[in-house]
């Protein structure tokens, strides 16, 4: 089950903790992967680790033209594009009253607007080939909210609503659109938490630990697979039970 041999996948934010794990897992299931992110060296190191079936496509998701072009570049490099994982995300946390316009705009641009552009550009080929898996990495806070993350929570909630709408539009073309909502996952993003925040978070996680990249990657493999053909417009929560929605 969940064999991805002969499938082509693009993962954004592939140098991050979660994105790297997703790229490794899709590759391990047989997919040919295009790794995108801003840090070329880190992407190349990951590609070298994976060996064959790995391509490097650096891109800055704040650059709209680069985002529009990325799915086409992936299609050209890979020979097709069946799976797109929009994983790249940034945080610019601040109390709502203090939040700067730029902090709001940057988070919406990378987390949400880049997702819209990537999906729009990837869709044509997927519809034509009658196979597509669009997977957005959202967040538990997109559903629950979180103080200090008005921008981030809005972007992640937006991704969920966008995905549901698109899922309804293209389900008849065998293109599925789903989200994965991780809770606290060990990654550079959660490394930024202080001890008090960490212990506070742990108290709210029934599983008693933070998640790890492979916990999220397994969900991505499932949603990317042929077996998940009848699952669309959904958000799969991977959070150790911290929010049961």
């Amino acid at each position: 089950m969940f064999d991805l041999t002969g499938r082509y996948a693009l993962v954004t934010g592939a140098t991050g903790g979660i994105g790297g794990a997703i790229a490794r897992a899709l590759h391990a299931q047989g997919a040919t992967v295009a790794l995108s992110g801003t840090r070329r060296e880190a992407l190349e190191a990951l590609a070298a680790e994976l060996g064959e079936r790995a391509h490097v496509l650096p891109a800055n998701l704040k650059d709209e033209a680069a985002v529009d072009a990325l799915p086409g570049e992936a299609e050209a490099a890979l020979g097709g594009l069946d799976i797109l994982v929009h994983n790249a995300g940034v945080t610019r946390d601040n109390l709502f009253l203090r939040m700067k316009d730029e902090e709001w705009a940057e988070v919406i641009a990378v987390n949400l607007a880049a997702g819209f552009r990537l999906y729009r550009a990837a869709l044509k080929g997927m519809m034509k080939r009658r196979y597509g898996r669009l997977i957005g990495i959202t967040s538990v806070v997109g559903v629950t909210g979180n103080p200090g993350q008005g921008n981030y929570a809005a972007s992640k909630a937006g991704l969920i609503g966008m995905s549901k709408s698109l899922a309804a539009e293209v389900a008849s073309r065998n293109v599925t659109v789903n989200c994965i909502a991780p809770g606290f996952i060990e990654s550079p993003m959660t490394d930024a938490l202080n001890e008090k925040q960490r212990s506070g978070a742990l108290e709210r996680i029934p599983a008693g630990r933070f998640g790890v990249g492979p916990d999220v990657a397994a969900a991505a493999v499932y949603l990317a697979s042929g077996e998940a053909a009848y699952v669309t417009g959904q958000t799969l929560h991977v959070n150790g039970g911290m929010a049961m929605i």
């Binding site: 044509k124 519809m127 034509k128 539009e169 293209v170 008849s172 073309r173």
Partner: protein
């Protein structure tokens, strides 16, 4: 019937899975041939590919019938 009209007709038949005799010049994709809005987008994509031309969104919105498509492509097709 022109060569372009023939090719348009063939694409419409293939894509919408309708009988050839229904695909007349005045047949509306949505009202007569059972297309939904996404089908019309896919038809435009198929025309672009077949005729090697770009059909801008504002032009695509005016292509409602088989004849509309033929007339547009007779004017704009790169590989007529």
């Amino acid at each position: 019937m022109s060569d372009i009209a023939e090719r348009v007709k063939k694409i419409v038949i293939e894509h919408l899975g309708v009988d050839a005799e229904k695909v007349t010049e005045n047949a509306s994709f949505i009202d007569d041939l059972g297309a939904d809005s996404l089908d019309t987008v896919e038809l435009v994509m198929a025309f672009e590919e077949e005729f090697g031309c770009e059909i801008p969104d504002d032009a695509a919105e005016t292509i409602l019938t088989v004849g509309d498509a033929t007339r547009f492509l007779e004017k704009n097709a790169a590989q007529a």
